[in-house]
């Protein structure tokens, strides 16, 4: 089932984690206490030009030196530390969450147009596939994912989420069926600046995974959600699609609708479906994707999972439930429900 929520302040005003913690707990009916997580954009202003690499270590002494070595080989770590946590009686700390602030040496990737991103992507894939006991779960600039197995309020208190400030937040309350209790399986999923929270099941996962892996991404989290982060990265960063068209590629109109379009528009949508047929996502889902300046929410083409939006001044909210949004901001002005496949897009304009 799962509950999702996201907020973006289009004037880039920041908010701390208190409200989203309250909102996510409002949807405990949709979770099972086995996974929750948050992502805050803009939470590391003092290191804003560095990639914040969050890693779950099973064992600091044995596996951490291997990650350190790899990072030093590909760039410079200006600061690293254990992510501050609070001891909670009901949340067992099975991993040690660590963060590095990292600047890749772009001279090592001379032929790329986005060398820093290429290096970090490569490092994430390499660590997650080849260093056992280390899992990178957050790798963007000036953002941080905080997730674990537990109820939303426990995970928030564990990471002391109220101490972080962000202009955009996503959060997820998990009802796991596939990998219960595994911290890596909690949402959000992140790669570079992209973070994803997802409610549903992607029936096209086998097709999507094989497609994305042919571009060098490696799916390591045993779940259908991470593939969304990679697909968005491929479509927007590497293939330069505007966000709206990336959403169209992932949840395109039916052929019947395209047949009724005219001229250039029909040609464009036809080409999108032909080119990105293997990227198209099927099955019931509601997804929120964010990067530094944008938050995009959309559902599958039949809208088999709920999604509502609301606004209050510069703030745009999306969630599985209106009640959660109201728990965060009782003064919202308009509440709306997008149609199937139609994205809700919020951009920072400041």
């Amino acid at each position: 089932m799962c509950g999702i929520i996201g907020v973006i302040d289009r004037g880039r005003q920041t908010m701390d984690g208190t409200a989203i913690r309250r909102a996510l707990s409002m949807m405990n009916e949709r979770g099972s206490g086995e996974g929750a997580g948050y992502v805050a954009y803009g939470c590391y202003p003092e290191f804003k030009d560095y990639f914040a690499i969050h890693v779950f270590f099973d064992n600091i002494h044995e596996t951490k030196p291997r990650v350190d070595e790899l990072l030093h080989q590909w760039g410079r770590v200006v600061h690293d530390e254990e992510i501050p946590t609070s001891d909670l009686p009901r949340l067992r700390k099975v991993h040690t969450p660590w963060r590095y602030f990292f600047k890749p040496d772009t001279r090592l990737m001379p032929r790329s147009t986005t060398p820093a991103e290429e290096i970090v992507t490569e490092l994430v894939m390499r660590i997650n596939t080849s260093i056992e006991g280390a899992l990178v779960f957050s790798s963007g600039r000036n953002l941080g994912v905080f997730k674990a197995a537990g109820w939303p309020e426990e995970v928030a208190d564990f990471y002391r989420i109220e101490e972080y400030q962000g202009h955009c937040w996503l959060a997820h309350n998990r009802y796991p069926t596939n990998t219960p209790g595994w911290w890596g399986g909690a949402h959000p999923f992140n790669l570079l600046d992209w973070s994803v929270v997802h409610n549903g099941e992607i029936t096209s996962y086998g097709t999507n995974r094989r497609y994305i892996e042919s571009f060098g991404y490696k799916c390591t989290m045993f779940t259908d959600t991470e593939v969304v982060a990679y697909l968005v990265d491929l479509l927007v960063r590497r293939h330069d699609l505007p966000e709206e068209l990336a959403v169209t590629a992932l949840a395109p109109p039916f052929w019947d609708e395209i047949d009724k379009m005219e001229g250039d528009r029909q040609r464009l949508y036809h080409a999108l479906r032909l080119t990105y047929g293997s990227a198209m996502m099927n099955g019931p889902f509601a997804i929120v994707v964010a990067d530094q300046d944008t938050m995009v929410a959309f559902t599958d083409r039949s809208k088999l999972r709920p999604l509502v939006g609301a606004e209050h001044g510069d703030r745009l909210y999306v969630s599985s439930e209106e009640a959660a949004i109201r728990a965060m901001d009782p003064d919202i002005t308009n509440v709306f429900m997008p149609r199937a496949g139609e994205p809700i897009i919020g951009r920072v304009v400041a």
Binding site: T177, S204, R210, D240, F254, L274, T275, M280, P284, S302
Partner: protein, 505 residues
Amino acid sequence: MSPSIGSLPPKYRVTVDRDQCMLCGRCVENCAYGAFRIDGDRIRTNSRVCTACHRCVAYCPRDAIDVSERPLDYRSHPVWTRGVREAIYNQARTGKIVLSGMGNALDYPMIFDRLVLDACQVTNPSIDPLREPMELRTHLGKKPQRLDLRKKDDGEVELLTELSPNLSLETPIMIGHMSYGAISLNAQLAMAKAVSAAGTFMGTGEGGLPEPLRPYQGHMIVQVASGRFGVDIDYLERGAAIEIKIGQGAKPGIGGHLPGEKVNAAISKTRMIPEGSDAISPAPHHDIYSIEDLAQLVRSLKEATEWKKPVFVKIAAVHNVAAIAAGIARSSADAVVIDGFRGGTGAAPRVFRDHVGIPVEAAVAAVDAKLRNQGIRNEVSIIASGGIRESTDVVKIIALGADAVYIGTAALVALGCRVCGNCYRGLCPWGIATQRQDLVDRLDPEAGGVQVANLIHGWTLELMDLMGAAGINSIESLRGNRDRLRSYMIDQALMDVLDVKSVGA
């Protein structure tokens, strides 16, 4: 009969129940092989010529005829089977290559029958195709890797990429290449009517495009094979697509032979060869001795038709099929047809039909994986053929990576074919694999067309139901989705090739 070997036991025994028989003579009339004759007040039979085509059984108004198989068998032996022994007797007599019809007849395990499909329960809803949209539209041809877009001043996005022409199918089921000559004009006409009605396509085979088929040319894929029979610019321009045939699943590595006695006036015209002459298609194309030669032929055909038509390349599924397909994907070709070792044929040497090539399931899985691995899957569509028997085979082969299928034998069965395997004799009592006018006339193209269209429609409905049960509403999301298959009693090595997990895993 040879003096020292003597006659072999008959394959079938035909008996007529005298109590039931009313001496109407329909069996005598219908049997093209002469198994029946009227002798006074009874029907006498000659079992030795019977092929078990069941024409007599189907047309006897009194159910008086019985055909039994192997009434007298050899002493059973697991090694020295009937087939093995008879091939030896045959060759001892003739010193020649043994010919056979239809597809592979050896008892290899069917991979299709050891793969099971998935369905939704609880965590995601299954989709009812009667209430919700279900998309089977399939595009065959090159697709761009990515799109070039430009943002116009008014904020609209403009598409700069030019798309290659694709064939657009309403259902991923096409009918493969069976030539005029190998089958009758009425059989081709029936199938042409069916594919036109179903919004799909069929192949002409290497027999040219007879004039009565021209009204359906928008649904025909014209073939260029090693004999180049029937090929001229008019023929190429009439087709919706062009297919270069390199090989055939039933007989990889060898050519074809239409005996002169089948080359009548009409066939001589469409094949552009003298009446009564043998039509021999050589084993290789004599202008293709390497992959770059193939690329050149693809380009030549594209040039000749002004780059307006997709060009397919058909190869037999052989051990190295994945690498060959990767080579084809790097040419201007739009689709590669993978013909598995169960593919049918009018006539093939028995040893080829039964022993050369690999099953289409493994071949398609390997080709799809190789193309993805090299990042060139969008360069070429995959059409699977050879042994597609029902709609579940279609779902499974698409989940293994195919874009669409060709059916052959299944379409002929829908026209009445009983899979007797005597296609090469030219006496098909069902009017399919024959050119004898009285036999051809037995097949009504109108009624036959409805039957084949019904088959395609029925499979299409089943496809939609199976996809809906799996929570998938568009065929693109089934393609290569091996996660929705499980293997049942398949060995680990083959599971790795298919990239499919075991049941329960």
